[in-house]
Amino acid sequence: MGIASKLDTVAGRFYKNVNRVPDKEAIWCDGEKMTYRQLGDFVSRYANYLVSHGVKRGDIIGIPMNNSIESAALIMAAASIGAGLAPINPTISVDQVDTAFRSGKAKHLIARSAFYRQIAGRNMEYLNGLKLCLDKKIDGADSMEDVKSQSTVRPSLEEIDGSETLILTMTSGSTGDPKPIELTQNNKLKRADAHVRLYSITENDRILAATPLYHSLAERLVILPLLIGATSILLPRFTPQIWMNCVEQQKVTFTIVVSAQLSQMVQLMSSPFAPDLSTMRSIVSSSALLESHVRAELIDKLRCDFNEMYGTSECSTITSINFHEAAHKTNSVGKPLPEAKIRILKDNGTETEIGEIGEIACKTELIFNGYYGMPEMTEKTFTKEGYFKTGDLGRVDEDGYLYFCGRKKEIIITGGINVYPKDVESAVLTLPEVKECAAFPYLDERLGEIVALAVVCKDGQQLTKRAVQFCCAKKLADFQQPHKVFFLKELPKNAMGKLTKNKLPEAVAGMQG
């Protein structure tokens, strides 16, 4: 097998493990599994297919991504040839797909037949490269047979040096101005290594990814084990029962979950019929703050290391706390990683005093490579000293522990996924009856927050909740759907006429929605 790239690249480290532990289980997903040798062969075939069908170093492949061995193999195959992926949520509308792929400058497309049907007739002339259909033979696209017929010899190519874009994380299917978060191979490597150190991950770990692969968390949890010779356990679909059964059956030892998943599971954990989670040595909660009563229950119930992390896609993990070690700081999100420094900033950009609330800003070795193709936008999000402004509010105590105190930025986090209110509002404003509207977070036991909408109709016009939901079902992705719709005579505004969204929960209190 030819080795064309330096060993310390994503693919280089993967192939080192292919050589070192060929018969070890590399990946399991939904009843299928592959050893490192088998996965290595598949990755090589995929890479050879991509190269022989015109994918070049630096090209971007658009892909509505599901959780599967094929998706994991594609990440490695793209890494091995220096191509990048723009993974998107398969449920987003055609308009959102178009916006996402244009902003990511996608040239090639890999998707299931349902997606090709969805975009048929839409002019996406920029997708003038490879087209692969993952599940069926269709006109105008290759099939997986074309991948499987390729050689298992690793393609010999110009040197890959790790500076290549590997993943463009689309900011949650924004219809407005998406900001693709660019992560290079080097970004991904640094982040993986930092987490290996932080959570003492070894090649003996069996690492579970149970969130969508089109988000950075699952990408990290799939790439990381393959870089160190551990085993990746990939769940395609989540329910609390499925997750817990998987941990027991696949003897999972480590995972990072989104807090909404833990909230859904905490009750089931108390059941006498709950699956055995004793192989789990460490769980990390992420994406949104755990509710304090859920956190307290988990600290009590979990026998393994229980951690909570705080971070952003741009910065990766910024702080982390192990609740069993820092029992006196359980309301905190922990101390910064060795790779990161934080500052709390006042509105004027100067630093706050200890304990004072301000915007969390972070300088870290794990920083992203920028918003793809948007250098000015990227520069705006940093201070002059190179600290990334997160848009979150927090304070630091005298021991250096960070406390999350809310969000400056307008965002709803539902089931661990960011929803930008502007995206929902833009869709709803296309209804001719709507004068103005505002999307806001509404507390929910299962998902943490759900999308709620306050709508003001034009004089003499009326709308039903269903009509609003029909509009959103067509224009928006699954996680962006409003669960609650409130019709108001007016939106709460301040004396200057500016919308005060934080008054909306009060304005709709007692209403059905």
Partner: protein, 80 residues
């Protein structure tokens, strides 16, 4: 038509196995439609077939079975 529409919708991300039994397959418990995706699933069916699914029907675990949901939509659509 209802059956094909629902089957295509459910399989946007993941294929169902070929020998699936529609009369026992629970699309919620198997995660094919989750808490995040439920609103869009129901609203899409309502809009496509011009029907309304009541809160009681949504809460009824019977309609988490794929075959039952297909029958429900078929009977509502044909009653129009």
């Amino acid at each position: 038509m209802v059956k094909n529409f629902i089957l295509n919708y459910i399989q946007r991300e993941y294929a169902l196995s070929e020998n699936i039994d529609l009369d026992t397959f629970n699309y919620i418990k198997t995660g094919y439609v989750d808490s995040i995706g439920l609103v869009q699933f129901i609203v899409t069916l309502e809009e496509e077939f011009n029907v309304e699914i009541t809160d009681e029907e949504l809460a009824d675990e019977r309609y988490q079975i794929l075959g039952e949901m297909i029958k429900l939509i078929e009977s509502k659509a044909s009653a129009k």
